[in-house]
């Protein structure tokens, strides 16, 4: 069965500092991995995805994520946090070559402190 774990309910980072939001996954076969962001009263917005190729994936708003197959992780990173990055972040996994559902983690709330 597929699953996603986001071990931190909340992450606090000072503005200008690097940030990391952690994600590990479990899936049969090779995964497709995604990060979505959710702002208050708004739907999920796609940030980035890993399909194949380079393990470091670059996405929207300066975010990037590193796929690590041996550790089954897909941590989200940004070199310098902005206050506007404060939001709820969801990691998600989907089975490769299957047009089907995404399994989401429970989310990590990111607070960027001015």
């Amino acid at each position: 069965a597929q699953s996603v774990a986001q071990p931190e309910d909340q992450v606090n980072v000072a503005e200008g500092n690097p940030l990391t939001v952690k994600c590990t996954y479990s899936v049969s076969g090779n995964p497709y991995l995604f990060w979505y962001v959710q702002y208050p009263n708004r739907g999920l917005q796609f940030l980035l995805k890993y399909i194949t190729g380079d393990n470091l994936v670059k996405g929207s708003y300066g975010f990037e994520a590193e796929f690590n197959k041996s550790q089954t992780s897909f941590h989200l990173k940004k070199p310098s946090a902005l206050v506007s990055d404060s939001a709820l972040y969801f990691c998600a996994v989907r089975r490769m070559n299957r047009d089907d559902k995404i399994i989401f983690g429970k989310g990590t709330r990111l607070h960027i402190l001015p």
Binding site: V4, Y32, F34, Y36, N41, R42, G43, L44, Q45, F46, K49, I51, F90, A92, M96, N97, R98, D99, D100, K101, I102, I103, F104, G105, K106, G107
Partner: protein, 116 residues
Amino acid sequence: GAGVSQSPRYKVAKRGQDVALRCDPISGHVSLFWYQQALGQGPEFLTYFQNEAQLDKSGLPSDRFFAERPEGSVSTLKIQRTQQEDSAVYLCASSGGGQGVWETQYFGPGTRLLVL
């Protein structure tokens, strides 16, 4: 705009009422998904359509939940005899589907349902 739209944005229902939630996917998107997001949780899969065919309804929590997409475009999620535990945000997503099975799912703003 060209994104996924959902209506209504907010719905308050008395327990026992039937509700219908609408999703307009991105034009031309073949695949359409419904998810349920409880407060403080990640979205959970409900059901999936490819064109008008409902290919997976394994996530529907009970037979009170019913979804349709009769013309392969707009979809409606219907909940009969609503219960308080049905209170959640219902998210719709669409993707190009077809050969591009790796394509990103794009989400609508959701319908927040409150059952009193």
